[in-house]
Structure formats: structure tokens, C-alpha cells
């Protein structure tokens, strides 16, 4: 009887350890990034297919999102520092209309495109399965950052429920440097 109880305790412990480990890992790493074709605030249309051969940083945002707005100046800085190294940066704004996004983000003077995922369908595609099941799927990637490599694979995904918020993008830049230096 004692051994059965011990086994059950051990199994429960292992389950918790595995769950905790899974929470710390970045999701979708090595997977092909879901494709997208989206209109931007600048009126142009951007497609993921056109970005092959480049490193791409994507930040999922909404104008009212405090995390996103705290990060915004650092994202612009990152773009200025890395654009000459062949890195593209995009914000994907989730479920807001162009007029609001254009007006609200004007203060940040982004010199990279802000894409409009007005129905949340692209954000939904980037929601990892099983993560935050109590949220609507388009809500899950909000305030996250990704790096997509030249082949279109996800190499970095700072989903907020798995990794502490990093407004200054320190971890993302470390990963980006590592990818750029290894080419």
C-alpha cells in the first residue's frame, strides 16, 4: 500500500515538474511560422512569403495594451539597430481598425510597418495549442515577440505566460545576435 502511495506521489510530482518545464519553454520553436497576408497602416500589403531570406521580428499588439506600449520605444530602437543587418520588424495589431491604430501609435513614430489583423485570424494562428485555454485564441499571442528565420521557422517566441515580460527586448536581441552571428 505504501509503495502505491509513494508511486502516486512520485507521478504527481513528475507531472507538476513537467508542467512547470513546459511553461518555461518557448512554444512553437522550430515550427514553420503560420503564413499571413495583411494590410498595413501605410496602405501596403505584406505577405510572409515575401519575407523568406530575412530574419523577421513580430510583435503582437493592441493600442490599449500596457505591455505593448511599454515595449514600443524599444522595438523602434531595435529596428533602427538591426535593419541594416537584414532584419525586418513588424507589429501585428490585433482586432482594431486602421484609424484607431494610426492615431494611437503616431506617438511612437514607428518606421517599420504596422499590420492590421482586424479579425484576429492571424493572431489565432499563432496561439500555441493548449496554452491559456481559458482565453479566446486571438488573445493568446498579445504582447508576445517572435523571431522568424530566413526559412520561415519560428526561432524565438516570448509568450507572456511562459517568459517574464522583457520590455527592453534583451532576450530577443541576444537570440537575434546569436542567429545573425551563426550565419
Amino acid at each position: 500500500m505504501k509503495s502505491i502511495v509513494k508511486s502516486l506521489v512520485l507521478i504527481a510530482y513528475l507531472d507538476l515538474s513537467l508542467a512547470a518545464g513546459a511553461q518555461q519553454d518557448q512554444p512553437m520553436i522550430g515550427q514553420m511560422a503560420p503564413s499571413f497576408t495583411l494590410k498595413a497602416v501605410d496602405g501596403k500589403t505584406y505577405s510572409s512569403d515575401q519575407l523568406r531570406g530575412k530574419y523577421v521580428v513580430i510583435h503582437f499588439a493592441a493600442t490599449w495594451c500596457p505591455f505593448c506600449n511599454a515595449e514600443a520605444p524599444y522595438l523602434q530602437e531595435l529596428y533602427k539597430s538591426y535593419r541594416d543587418k537584414g532584419v525586418e520588424v513588424f507589429i501585428v495589431d490585433v482586432k482594431e481598425d486602421k484609424a484607431l491604430v494610426e492615431k494611437s501609435f503616431a506617438r511612437f513614430n514607428f518606421s517599420f510597418p504596422v499590420l492590421l489583423d482586424e479579425d484576429g485570424s492571424i493572431s489565432t494562428k499563432y496561439a500555441p495549442e493548449g496554452v491559456q485555454p481559458d482565453l479566446a485564441r486571438h488573445e493568446v499571442p498579445l504582447a508576445s515577440n517572435l523571431i522568424i528565420d530566413k526559412e520561415g521557422k519560428i526561432r524565438f517566441y516570448s509568450l507572456l505566460n511562459t517568459i517574464s515580460f522583457d520590455a527592453k527586448l534583451t532576450k530577443l536581441k541576444e537570440k537575434l545576435d546569436s542567429l545573425l552571428n551563426s550565419k
Binding site: 495594451c65 500596457p66 511599454a70 482586432k95 481559458d134 482565453l135 479566446a136 515580460f165 520590455a167
Partner: protein, 153 residues
């Protein structure tokens, strides 16, 4: 003159938004008032542990403040809503401080009734708009509808 305040009554809350965790509960004591007199609706709000919502006055105009909307009623006029003072919340990993509410707080809504108001129950339709976050994740803005019952004796 207020005749009395009844037992706590919970009115809940049919959100039509996509499935997000319910982070907020509203409780309103039933209010009994005499026609022609004034009183105060004391709306008790309970925020789920670990979450906060933006305050009524935010320090960044991009944020969504918590606001309360009460439909007009012929015999009841509501006055200026009184929200509690905000608390400061530091965003993890940044230097930003936000004005927020968490835990339990009260919104007070003074009102007066007309002398001609009919006796019995008057239902005021209300909506609370808010945007909630925990220390690492933000939820989409939400509007919840509920009812405030005023009994005219």
C-alpha cells in the same frame, strides 16, 4: 429619506465577449427609497486575485479606463459617479507605473427620485467597461451588463 437597505443582491453578468476568464464580480445592495428622495447606489466590485483593471482615470490616454454607464430612467436621475483612488502598479520588466484597481473596491452613484415616480421596483440597466491584466498578460477590453434594482416604497 432612505427607508432601508435590503440584503446584498448579486446581479450577474452576461458578457457577450469571447471566452475570457471572469476576473470581476459585482454586488449591489438592494436599495429602498421614498419617492422624491435621494440615496446612493454602492456598487461593490471584486477583482479576482492576481488581476487588476485600469482605473477610472488613467495616466496614459492609450489605456482603457474603467467606466460605468447607467441607462436613463424616467423617475431616477443619477449623479456624478465616485470611483476610489487608484493604486500604482509597476509593469514587470519595465519602468512604467499604471493606475489600477485590484481586490475589492466600491463605486458610489448618488441618485434622486422624482416625486411622481411609481412605487415598486425600478430596474436600471448598467454596463461596466474595463480592461484587465495580471502581472504578465492582458485581456481584451470587456463590457459587462448588469441591473441595479431600486425599490420605491
Amino acid at each position: 429619506m432612505i427607508r432601508g437597505i435590503g440584503i446584498l443582491t448579486v446581479f450577474l453578468l452576461a458578457g457577450k465577449q469571447p471566452a475570457s476568464p471572469d476576473v470581476l464580480k459585482i454586488t449591489i445592495p438592494e436599495i429602498v427609497v421614498v419617492a422624491g428622495e435621494s440615496s446612493v447606489i454602492k456598487m461593490e466590485v471584486e477583482i479576482k486575485k492576481g488581476y487588476h483593471i485600469q482605473a477610472n482615470k488613467v495616466n496614459d490616454d492609450l489605456l482603457i479606463p474603467t467606466t460605468l454607464e447607467i441607462a436613463k430612467d424616467e423617475g431616477i436621475t443619477t449623479g456624478r459617479q465616485e470611483f476610489p483612488p487608484a493604486k500604482k502598479f509597476k509593469l514587470e520588466g519595465s519602468d512604467n507605473l499604471l493606475d489600477v484597481y485590484d481586490g475589492n473596491f466600491e463605486i458610489r452613484i448618488p441618485f434622486k427620485t422624482t416625486k411622481k415616480i411609481s412605487k415598486g421596483q425600478h430596474i436600471l440597466d448598467a454596463k461596466l467597461h474595463y480592461q484587465a491584466c495580471d502581472h504578465r498578460t492582458c485581456l481584451f477590453p470587456k463590457t459587462i451588463g448588469f441591473s441595479i434594482t431600486v425599490k420605491v416604497a
